[in-house]
């Protein structure tokens, strides 16, 4: 009798030691024996600071943390993180993505600022049946006309920005707008959404002008002069430029002394790194919408401290989104038990979670947008800045249900 019990115990022991899967988790079988995650972003151009090399670091951090939490072999193999610079060019980005998918068997391409590149890579992902998490790109096209089964819009989008900022500014009294936007997918989308939001809130867009993108001269004087001549009716200059473009525009806005002449500045998309370049003094009081801020609460700050220890700078929300997207992808692979794209997609759709980056979050099934709380923020006056990089205070939380495009407005048909 005792012998049978002993044999049973031994058997159970052996099975346990050999890694019989714990309840609820299967062993992960990888289609190519190892996993490859590719970070494609701008590493040398106008958007190099908001994602760039530190974005790659964030992804690596996520992989390391995941393996630390669940064990080095929890994913059934090693995870390589590759990266490439798309130079803000759609053809370069698409080529790199195709190469990563084909030559390196990448299961995920992540980051990609510059909406035109984002759209291009979304098409490549659909063609190759591999996943793409657009963290840096903002255009809502990714969840509407260019949506597809393998593309996820992870972090923020133009609708979120327009809805938050336009309404807040109009409420403050800035009803007459002149919008300048960079002439590519992102800027065009910003112009459309901001114009609609301003109208909806009771304001009026007097005029909107495209500025060249890329802008070799970085000279916005034509538009600043135009802004001045639109007075006295004009109250708000809506700048939809991003990254270094924005930094130059704001500098010239100050050079032309437009604020003293009664034209206030509203900024469509503002990153922590832009405030750092401009210094808070140049844009204090500016109200903007953001997906996340490193010092917004204890949970965010904990992660930001670890990022700081690694990179010596504070993270932008894109870098945080890179980490989070990678983490959620790896979690989805673990839940699916494989890195087969279709199975991972099934795990991601409809998934709800709450973590340091995304609060009250859900990956919406119909358009693959990550819904989560957004925040209305304000640039602090220099006197209120208590530590390096602490440039922003959160004014208001926009709940996940309101921050993103309502389903009724979404036009997305995904091939199965």
């Amino acid at each position: 009798m005792i012998r049978w019990v002993a044999l049973l115990c031994a058997a159970l022991l052996v099975l346990g030691v050999s890694g019989y899967p714990a309840a609820g988790q299967g062993t992960v079988r990888l289609t190519h024996g190892k996993m490859v995650i590719a970070v494609i972003n701008d590493q040398s151009g106008v958007y190099a600071d908001l994602g760039g090399k530190n974005g790659v670091e964030a992804v690596k951090m996520a992989v390391e943390d995941f393996q630390k939490r669940y064990g080095a072999s929890s994913l059934g193999g090693t995870v390589d993180v590759l990266s490439a610079d798309h130079q803000n060019k759609p053809d370069v980005g698409a080529s790199k993505a195709a190469e990563f998918y084909d030559r390196d068997n990448a299961g995920l391409v992540i980051d990609v600022p510059t909406s035109s590149v984002g759209i291009a890579i979304a098409h490549v992902a659909a063609q190759k049946h591999r996943l793409f998490f657009a963290v840096g790109a903002a255009t809502t096209a990714l969840s509407n006309e260019d949506c597809n089964k393998y593309t996820f819009h992870y972090g923020y989008d133009v609708y979120m920005l327009a809805n938050g900022t336009a309404i807040a500014v109009v409420k403050q009294g800035g009803t007459q707008w002149y919008i300048v936007y960079p002439n590519y997918a992102f800027g065009q989308d910003m112009n459309a959404k901001f114009s609609a939001a301003v109208d909806h809130a009771g304001g009026k867009v007097l005029l909107s002008d495209p500025t060249p993108f890329p802008n070799p001269t970085e000279d916005f004087s034509t538009f600043l002069i135009k802004a001045r001549t639109l007075r006295p009716r004009l109250q708000i200059l809506g700048a939809m430029q991003a990254g270094q473009d924005l930094v130059n525009l704001v500098k010239q806005y100050n050079e032309f002394g437009l604020r003293q002449q009664g034209v206030k500045l509203a900024i469509g998309l503002l990153f922590l790194t832009d405030i750092h370049s401009l210094t808070p003094a140049a844009i204090q009081g500016t109200v903007f919408t953001t997906a996340w801020y490193w010092n917004m609460d204890k949970q965010a700050r904990e992660w930001a401290d670890r990022f700081y220890a690694r990179t010596k700078v504070r993270p932008t929300f894109v870098q945080a989104g890179d980490y989070d997207g990678t983490w959620q992808y790896l979690e989805a692979v673990r839940r699916a038990g494989t890195d087969d794209a279709d199975k991972v997609v099934a795990q991601l759709e409809g998934y709800r979670f709450n973590d340091f980056f995304a609060r009250h979050a859900q990956i919406r099934k119909q358009d693959h947008v990550l819904l989560h709380d957004a925040y209305l923020a304000e640039v602090k006056a220099p006197a209120d800045v208590k530590e390096p990089w602490d440039y922003v205070k959160i004014v208001q939380t926009i709940p996940a249900g309101q921050a993103f495009q309502p389903l009724s407005q979404v036009h997305c048909t995904m091939a199965p």
């Binding site: 500025t211 070799p216 970085e218 000279d219 004087s221 034509t222 002069i225 135009k226 001549t229 050079e255």
Partner: protein, 289 residues
């Protein structure tokens, strides 16, 4: 109407850069028969020179205005002596190709060192602020650019047309052998003239630094427009290049009021028309097409 006048003024300021650059290009081509594709890259080096002088040595803008072009001139002198002179016996196109290769090299080296988005350079404190006269308002610095470049263009014209040095240069170009026979050491002048032309580009760069982003590719598209201007003005005609530069700048800015995109293309449309009507350029001597 207001808008147009202000934009016209703004355009003249852009035109000043075209004028300075095409002036240097025209001087070099007129005197040396070298088509200096590097001109845009040297303009960029002038701007970076001002930036580096400011950040590492604390040199003010005013001093940089003098020192940086001299530094660029030295670079030009060095390049001419070591590389360009080897190709004088060959077809002129080889120089174009060599300077094209040098452009790629210089731009990419700067990009690797400084990144592509550029570095900031503030306007000097004495020139900050806005000048308002009636409805015309202008950042003081930009007005300064306009006045200063006009002065430089006039100064160069005077130098070439009215001084002995200029006379030697002109003679060396038209007939080097005869000039040598008259006892002038022509070979000594060639690199000096090249350095001078290049210094003009560097000067334009320093002037541009507070206004534009100081970035490695700041001269890349500018050089093509400059080529078009020199073709319109007439190769080798200094007056032609300068006048055309200002005019094109002004016209482009005014066109931009109605159709922003047109500003960039206008110069090429003008070039096409000029080629159809007067192939030698507006001020160029009629040549065997």
């Amino acid at each position: 109407m207001e808008t147009i006048l202000i934009q016209l003024f703004n355009g003249l300021i852009n035109g000043a850069f075209y004028a300075l650059l095409s002036l240097g290009l025209a001087v070099i081509f007129g005197m040396l028969r070298v088509v200096n594709f590097m001109h845009g890259a040297l303009y960029m080096l002038g701007a970076f020179g001002a930036f580096l002088l400011g950040t590492t040595l604390g040199v003010s803008f005013w001093w940089a205005l003098l020192i940086s072009p001299l530094a660029v001139a030295a670079v030009g002198y060095g390049l001419e002596r070591t590389l360009l002179r080897r190709l004088y016996d060959l077809d002129v196109l080889y120089n174009l190709l060599l300077t094209f290769g040098l452009t790629l090299l210089i731009q990419d080296v700067m990009r690797l060192r400084f990144g592509i988005q550029g570095v900031p350079y503030p306007a000097p404190p004495q020139l900050q602020g806005v000048v308002v006269v009636g409805f015309m308002f202008f950042p003081t610095y930009r007005l300064f650019v306009l006045v200063f470049s006009l002065a430089v263009c006039l100064g160069t014209w005077w130098l070439i047309e009215r001084t002995r040095a200029g006379m030697i240069i002109r003679a060396s170009t038209e007939n080097p052998m005869l000039t040598r026979a008259l006892g002038v050491d022509v070979d000594r002048w060639i690199p000096l003239v090249f350095a001078f032309g290049v210094a003009l580009a560097g000067l334009a760069g320093v002037l541009a630094a507070p206004m534009r982003a100081v970035s490695p590719l700041m001269g890349a598209d500018l050089i093509i427009t400059t080529f078009a201007i020199v073709v319109i003005g007439g190769m080798g005609s200094i007056l032609g290049s300068v006048v055309t530069g200002f005019v094109v700048g002004a016209l482009s800015a005014v066109a931009a009021v109605y159709y922003p995109a047109a500003a960039n293309v206008l110069v090429f449309v003008i070039m096409t028309v000029v080629l159809l009507v007067r192939p030698a350029g507006l001020f160029g001597a009629a040549e065997a097409a």
